[in-house]
């Protein structure tokens, strides 16, 4: 009976792979979730039934509490808070791995390779736990979003990590030195905090993806420590997913991992911002509505500001009104728009905007030249032409949305303050740019009011 579970694990592993495979298209994605759930259910039931599990009351109480906490998180969490929830779940996953590793260490004091796996598991687990909590704090704006830096920060971090790794090595060589373990765990926890402190809000997509990868790898290491192939597979899948997403995010910002982690982007440039007064053209909702009315094609460029203002439903109204009038409306989504990979897509889908109108950067960029109006809502650096033209700009080389090629550019923005990276956006001073000052949600709803609802003659 006991070895039946290994065959069940094989089926579970296959279901997990299918689950991710079906995620490649929105048409089959929900089937993917189902496959994942089935795999999970099989694995858990198999474990409970065929292994000799004692202490049932502990196991069941934990299941009940976990379920009771999990259901409200899934249903009450607003879509704008999805990045925070994701960070929280990375923290939970990493904590689980770290604690299992800790318990395993005190139970068996394993030697050799198992100990190597255990050290990797706890190191990654603990640092991802605090790191993800920090990321969550920044996303929830409980902690300041700007990067906090101090002198020799990178040196301090490196040193700390080196000490933690050294203690880990010592544990591998002499596992019986149990007094080292708490210090090792404490340093890993501290390192997680220090690692995230210098990272600013706009770099969150990369960091979240990276933490995702770490959480997966620590589950994978647990698989090595417990000699469980299903854990190895599931952890490796999660780890590679996080890795791919963080590579995509880095490419979309034209930066390296090292630069994201140690660069403390967006605080040096703030001093360089020029104070000279330059002329911008601003417009009212009425004028904006008049221009939109006369347009035949409009491309909307959403950014993090849209999530902050919770403007997605108002944008849907604008989309509907314009579409009814025969205007072709599309959305241009930059890969790093928002605070996590795919953030904007989820928000716009929540507002019932059909997903075939949500275009990726590479697919839409050629269309800006033929479009009448590019309407930018809460996005900044991803539209800055300096990334293309100005070699001295810190964002030079970053792939951007070519909004400046549209006939008219409209930017809804609270004020002229520079974006996260602290870089002036040349776009705002262009002849064809109209600045619409105000809150995104309020301004869009005013535009909708100004547009006649009926079908154009």
């Amino acid at each position: 009976m006991a070895h039946v579970v290994h065959y069940i694990y094989i089926i579970s592993a296959a279901l997990f792979i299918l689950s991710l495979k079906w995620m490649n298209s929105p048409v089959t994605a929900r089937r993917g979730v189902f496959a994942g759930e089935a795999g999970m259910l099989l694995a858990i039931t198999g474990t409970l039934v065929s292994q000799h599990v004692f202490n049932w009351e502990w196991v069941f109480a934990a299941f009940l509490i976990g379920t009771a906490v999990g259901i409200p998180i899934a249903y009450i969490m607003p879509m704008t808070a999805v990045p925070q929830r994701t960070a929280l779940s990375h923290a939970c996953g990493a904590l689980a791995a770290a604690l299992v590793g800790t318990a395993e260490y005190y139970r068996e004091t394993p030697h050799g390779f198992t100990m190597v796996a255990l050290v990797v598991e706890t190191l990654l687990g603990f640092l991802t736990f605090t790191g993800s909590l920090m990321a969550m704090g920044k996303l929830q704006e409980v902690l300041p979003q700007r990067p906090l830096t101090y002198r020799n920060q990178n040196l301090v971090n490196m040193l700390l990590f080196a000490i933690a790794a050294g203690l880990g090595l010592r544990l591998i060589l002499v596992p019986t030195d149990t007094w080292i373990f708490p210090i090792f765990a404490g340093l890993a926890l501290l390192f997680g905090v220090l690692l995230i402190i210098p990272i600013g809000g706009a770099d969150m997509p990369t960091v979240i993806a990276l933490l995702n990868s770490y959480a997966g790898l620590s589950a994978c290491a647990m698989g090595f420590a417990l000699d469980n192939k299903l854990l190895v597979i599931a952890g490796a899948l999660d780890g590679s997913s996080g890795l791919i997403l963080s590579i995509i995010m880095c490419k979309a910002m034209n930066r390296s991992f090292a630069n994201v982690l140690f660069g403390a982007f967006g605080q040096l440039q703030a001093t360089a911002a020029k104070t000279e007064q330059r002329h911008v053209r601003s417009a009212s909702a009425e004028e904006a509505a008049a221009i939109l009315e006369g347009a035949t094609s409009v491309i909307i460029v959403p950014g993090y500001g849209l999530a902050v203002a919770q403007a997605q439903h108002k944008i849907r109204e604008l989309f509907d009104t314009l579409t009814r009038r025969g205007v072709d409306v599309k959305f241009a989504i930059h890969p790093v728009a928002g605070r996590m990979p795919g953030h904007m897509n989820v928000l716009l889908a929540e507002a019932d905007i059909p997903y075939d109108k949500l275009m990726e950067m590479d697919d839409i960029n050629s269309e800006f030249a033929q479009c009448d109006v590019a309407l930018i809502i809460g996005a900044n650096d991803v539209t800055n032409p300096a990334a293309r033209n100005d070699k001295s700009s810190p964002i030079y080389g970053m792939p951007i949305l070519d909004v400046d090629r549209a006939r008219t550019v409209m930017v809804i923005k609270r004020s002229m303050s520079p974006g996260f990276a602290g870089i002036q956006n040349e776009l705002y001073y262009m002849e064809k740019t109209l600045m619409l000052f105000g809150d995104a949600k309020a301004f869009v709803s005013e535009i909708v009011k100004e547009l006649p609802a009926g079908v154009a003659a």
Binding site: P26, N55, W58, G66, G70, M79, N212, N228, L237, P341
Partner: protein
């Protein structure tokens, strides 16, 4: 016969390549649900947590640590799968809307 370690390393290598191939094909449209789905899947670490908590003669320390681990992992499983499905339900094409 290869050792358990060798086998695990083979499994790890193959799973990583499968992961890279499969994830690469996921549309950027679905990157957020993808992340919550992989997160729920990696909460399979609950299996390890069950074995630690449920071991015969487990110490109180093991039981407490295992208990917290199971709770966090189950939270991830439940909220991860449910919220992924909630997000995916929102992705509709125009025709399906009415």
């Amino acid at each position: 016969m290869p050792s358990n370690l060798e086998l695990s390393l083979y499994v790890f290598m193959l799973a990583t390549f499968v992961g890279l191939e499969v994830i690469h094909k996921v549309s950027p449209l679905l990157h957020t649900p993808l992340m919550s789905l992989t997160n729920a899947i990696s909460a399979i670490s609950v299996v390890g947590a069950i074995l630690i908590t449920g071991a015969q003669g487990a110490t109180t320390l093991s039981k407490v640590l295992g208990f917290i681990a199971i709770t966090s992992a189950v939270t991830n499983i439940v909220s991860g799968f449910l919220i992924t499905d909630r997000m995916l339900k929102m992705f509709k094409r125009r025709e399906e809307k009415k």
